[in-house]
Subunit: 293 residues, 2 copies
């Protein structure tokens, strides 16, 4: 299959690697052109613009940072829309607002093409291993058409509803995970200040009702001391704010999530937005006054 891909960040690189490995013909584009070279070396074609990617492929994947980046790829000069033909289909793996997704889907539909929102969870490891969970919003026919592509990059493939619903479910996932990370940070803080070693706490908590993906992630980072972003604090905050905005539009009142978002915002304001999200735990001041993790 001729597959296009726009956005070769941490996540996109893993997906493109797997699509190449599966024998697909790839045409890629990245704003910073140096990221294309490793894939050109493996047989992919480098495009000069998003329009060229869309024009040259049956399915076009997109994986960029936020609403503004998707808008730039879509409608900028030589944007994706210019190259999108009447049978084109776009899979957007970015995590963006349901509203921006609806705008993109309408623009694609005007050209006879389809835009599926297909955000993913599973991190850089899942992207590299091809084991991502992918939540797809759009038509059932579109979901069927992209199966040969989805099955290469992911393991759990779920058609969650119409256009924008994939983004909504992704935001919910990251919203719940963000609060759970704050919960883990607050709980571990009590234990460490109370003199119980992290290893002891984790032996009990992972065998107890406190267990969660976020708790294990935080403990792993506390043990390694590694602050480099697997998932940056800025990205977590962005997703929690988008989830809260979606909730407000739906009339839901979510106090615990709102406070958790403010905790991440405080660390962002303190200059830590480009560090890993787990630096949130510093908000709570360490195992004892003045102590270090």
């Amino acid at each position: 299959m001729r597959i296009g891909f726009i956005g070769l960040g941490i996540m996109g690189r893993g997906m493109v690697g797997n699509l190449l490995k599966a024998g697909h013909e790839l045409i890629v584009y990245n704003r910073g052109t140096e990221r294309m070279q490793p894939f050109v070396d493996r047989g992919a074609k480098a495009a000069a613009s998003p329009a060229e990617v869309a024009a040259g492929s049956e399915i076009t994947g997109v994986c960029v940072t936020d609403d503004a980046a998707v808008e730039a790829v879509l409608s900028g000069p030589e944007g994706l829309l210019e190259g999108l033909g009447p049978d084109g289909i776009v899979l957007d793996h970015s995590t963006i607002s349901p509203e921006q997704t609806l705008r993109a889907a309408r623009a694609a539909a005007e050209r006879g093409a389809e835009w599926l929102d297909a955000p993913v969870t599973g991190g850089d490891r899942g992207a590299a291993a091809g084991t991502l969970t992918i939540m797809v919003g759009g038509s059932a026919a579109g979901f069927r058409r992209v199966q040969p592509y989805l099955q290469v990059i992911g393991k759990t493939l779920v058609h969650v509803g119409g256009s924008g619903k994939g983004q909504l479910v992704k935001l919910i996932n990251n919203f719940i995970g963000g609060i759970a990370l704050a919960a883990a940070a607050e709980g571990l803080t009590i234990g460490l200040r109370g003199g119980v070693p992290l290893e002891t706490l984790m032996r009990v908590l992972t065998a107890g009702s406190a267990d969660s993906v976020s708790l294990r992630l935080l403990a792993e980072r506390l043990q390694s001391g590694d602050d480099r972003p697997g998932f940056s604090l800025a990205n977590r905050l962005k997703d929690m704010d988008l989830a809260l905005a979606a909730a407000r539009a739906l009339g839901a009142c979510l106090p615990v999530g709102a406070v958790a978002a403010e905790m991440f915002r405080e660390r962002a304001a303190a200059g830590e937005k480009d560090l890993d999200q787990t630096v949130l735990v510093r908000r709570y001041g360490g195992p004892e006054p003045g102590g270090s993790w």
Copy 2:
């Protein structure tokens, strides 16, 4: 071994059942005496008071509701202390404050005996199956002495530190789990209001970074519609408040947990304290205005 047990609630009944099955000689006490009969039928001896239990056993288990109930068992008329000999050892499975635990441990020590705090997690199912996680505070020698008892009722047995540390870790477990339950309630509310079915949400979220024990528990209850308490809202609130009090004593500031506790308190004030903790989700008003779960 001659084992005593005080408190035949949901959790205590499971533990005593397993101790009997393992061939131990049991002497039991419960304030409401009708709960003793099924165990008498299985060969246990019914005692007339906590003092009689302690006088007749090598190890005495206690599993009651709160600080006040432990105090009543310990120091009331014909209380446990009166029967506790110099080689006695008490295992307290109640979830209470570290402060009350320290008082009980001092009182036991004055009689030459030892009080181990040994709260559990795993719920009524874990108690019945003998697969509880047990976090023990007290001396290493005491922890070794009670192994024949612990290995019958639990699977993950962890000596977490000195007296009171078992309770501290248990409170942390229930604190983190309580916030995670609020997180799940808020996140699922967004999705249900947004028109995504619960089954679809759970397929994605359990394969994503939102996954947690609390999320699965809440979804199971929403699907069954069962409000009868596995773990009551009043008990969850009690544990979160105890965790927050412990955190304050340690100088930690925990805004997300404080707000989550207020959410549980609101449902308690609305008359739902004796229902299952998962009724918290009603706080958020259902899948759409006026809709039902």
